[in-house]
Symmetry: C2
């Protein structure tokens, strides 16, 4: 309800933001497209676009087809007006990628993390080294970098400097943003990895065009990002969307978070593999790491009744979890992402069916349930969109 005041200047800011956002997200577009899309008058569009071109944010890129009449010029965001860095701090590795403004990858590096010794300072060091590395590899000057986005698998509490809680990394209130900021003065944006994945799928993947969507990230653990009215929902301290630790089986299996019956204790990759091992009466599941173990389970389901049953149950739990999201958020789309969701992609029909059993008819009918389209690197891509989102919101004005 609390509305900010409006002044004459804010009109221009808003219109700059609206036009620049459209050009970025739906471009290339002509001035006429913008007139139709925004409802602004032609002179207003030309005026603002003229400014954006003068400032080097937007460029004209050839004329559009015309059958009679002056052809309109296509407008696009200038790809090299700036570059952005996206970082994925996962449970097993730090990945740093460099993008131009069309989200073309200019370079990338990856640093594996030791399974136990994930010191915050080490991670911050990898991030800083990674930034230097990708800039050097692509011979891009530091001054061209608009900002650095970091997606972290854990709860990221925003503030002057973002603070991270990550049980899987053994982190409690780690001031990761400060640690990184000590090594660089590039603008930093930290966010939860599921939220950056959601942002990427929203702009470039399965979420395009939706106003209300939920993105579920199923990996070793389970997370989610909720987009409401086109914007990632953060809540009071930006830890909203902790789907993995909602109770699905009251009093059920113990979860690594300390509670019982969490969704993550049933459908996270680690939990699925555990349940499979228990179903095999303790015999270990073949494979060196979770990814190959999960793959082994999926492969075994062709022949093994036990494996089949574990997967069916997984679909049931996951479907019920999705149904909860549908009942609570009433989204147009539920998008399943993360490596484990991709590996379990074959369960999609069973998941849909289970969700249909548990969800209310009306909201279930409104929602589609689908897989993500951007693969596993979506976290870094989404992280890279964070500085861009800020740029768009500010109408292209850097601070």
């Amino acid at each position: 309800m609390e509305l900010a005041r409006a002044t004459n200047r804010s009109v221009r800011l808003r219109n700059r933001s609206a036009l620049l956002s459209r050009i970025f997200l739906d471009g290339p577009l002509t001035r006429q497209d913008l007139v139709r899309g925004t409802g602004l008058s032609q002179p207003a569009v030309s005026n603002v676009v003229g400014d954006l071109i003068d400032e080097g944010l937007v460029m004209e890129a050839g004329a559009a087809e015309s059958d009679g009449g002056r052809p309109s010029m296509m407008l696009r965001v200038a790809p090299r007006h700036a570059v952005v860095v996206g970082v994925d701090v996962g449970e097993t590795r730090v990945r740093v990628e460099l993008f131009d403004l069309t989200m073309t990858v200019l370079g990338s590096v990856e640093y594996p993390l030791e399974h136990n010794g994930t010191e915050p300072a080490t991670v911050a060091g990898h991030v800083l080294a990674g930034i230097d590395r990708v800039l050097a590899d692509s011979s891009v000057a530091r001054s061209e970098v608009l900002g650095v986005g970091v997606g972290v698998s854990g709860v990221v509490e925003q503030g002057t400097h973002a603070v991270v809680d990550a049980q899987t990394l053994g982190w409690h209130r780690v001031p990761l943003e400060r640690l990184i900021a000590e090594g660089t003065d590039l603008p930093l944006h930290l966010d939860n990895g599921a939220k950056t994945l959601g942002q990427a799928e929203m702009w470039f993947g399965a979420g395009r065009g939706a106003r209300h969507a939920v993105f579920a990230l199923v990996g070793s653990g389970v997370g989610a990002a909720v987009v409401t009215n086109g914007v990632t929902y953060r809540g009071a301290s930006s830890s909203a969307g902790e789907w993995g630790h909602t109770t699905l089986v009251y009093g059920g299996r113990p979860c690594r978070c300390g509670a019982r019956g969490c969704l993550e204790a049933y459908v996270g990759a680690e939990a699925v593999i555990d349940r499979y091992r228990e179903a095999r009466r303790g015999r270990p599941v073949p494979g060196d790491d979770e990814e190959s173990q999960l793959a082994a389970l999926v492969a075994a389901a062709e022949k093994s009744e036990t494996a089949r049953r574990v997967l069916d149950e997984t679909a049931g739990y996951l479907g019920a979890g999705v149904a909860n999201l549908i009942n609570l958020f009433n989204p147009e789309r539920v998008v399943l992402g993360g490596w484990a969701a991709m590996a379990l992609g074959g369960l999609l029909p069973a998941i849909r069916e289970a969700a249909g059993r548990q969800a209310l008819r009306a909201p279930y009918a409104q929602a589609t349930i689908e897989l993500g389209r951007l693969g596993v690197d979506a976290v870094a891509l989404g992280a890279a969109t964070l500085p861009i989102a800020r740029l768009l919101a500010n109408g292209g004005i850097r601070r």
Copy 2:
């Protein structure tokens, strides 16, 4: 992300809306308070306030205390600039109330509903008769009515004419708004009852000052309203917040919605009483209706181990359900309302404790869990705020 265009006029509209909202919600206030609160300049505030006074929306109400210097005038919304009607269509009755703009009750009527024969046309008839009745009783002219808000215990799908699904009333896609609109040309606003309760608690009760809050409505069934960034969250088809039918006990008790293990099947009043009866090996619970039966259970807990256990379990389930809300929405407050929640108010400490066990530490620490402050008629009060919310959003300009 999609920003609407801004034009010069929209500046004034926005500022009118911001100032009028503040005066309504936090008034009486002085012009200086508004200057400080909104960041607008003094002349801008005076100018807009002058318009609002000329139009009869706002009135000056005496001078403020002053110790030297010209005393500032207090500004308040003109109580009788318009009146609003709030309707609560519950499972057992239709209640119609008339309010002035300070939300003082000018009149009210109630029509009981037969337990099974709740024909939509009958309900619409009660609503229309109720409007006539309260207007006549208070000798208020129909032309003074700003609008009619209706809170319905069921899923309300917004559209040109809102459509209602209410399992407990046996309604499926009932065009209630059309049925009412056929009998009156007053502006109508339909919404889910939990959402109107949330709106009331948000403006006048336990939600004041919060930007992110969840309001749980526990009656015979269970519902919730989610306020994000100060605004009720509706989702794609405004059925968001169906907390009652989220799965809490996978594969558990059958729910009247057809699924299994829904929260409502454990903590709704009907379910609690059922569980108590089962714990008494089928002996009926004393009392004629659910309210007295629940009261009997609460009273019995003083002496009966069985009753005590049923209540403890209820607190456990409810706490886990609240924990899910906390994990997913990361609110500042969780407010429990509805008659059953009030009757179970003594369980609040146990509910808090159970929620603490199941929720993640960080979001749990951010949230307070409390009881609603507005009692049971909050649904009608909240419904009456719907036309007012529209008026405020439009800067006081009626259509």
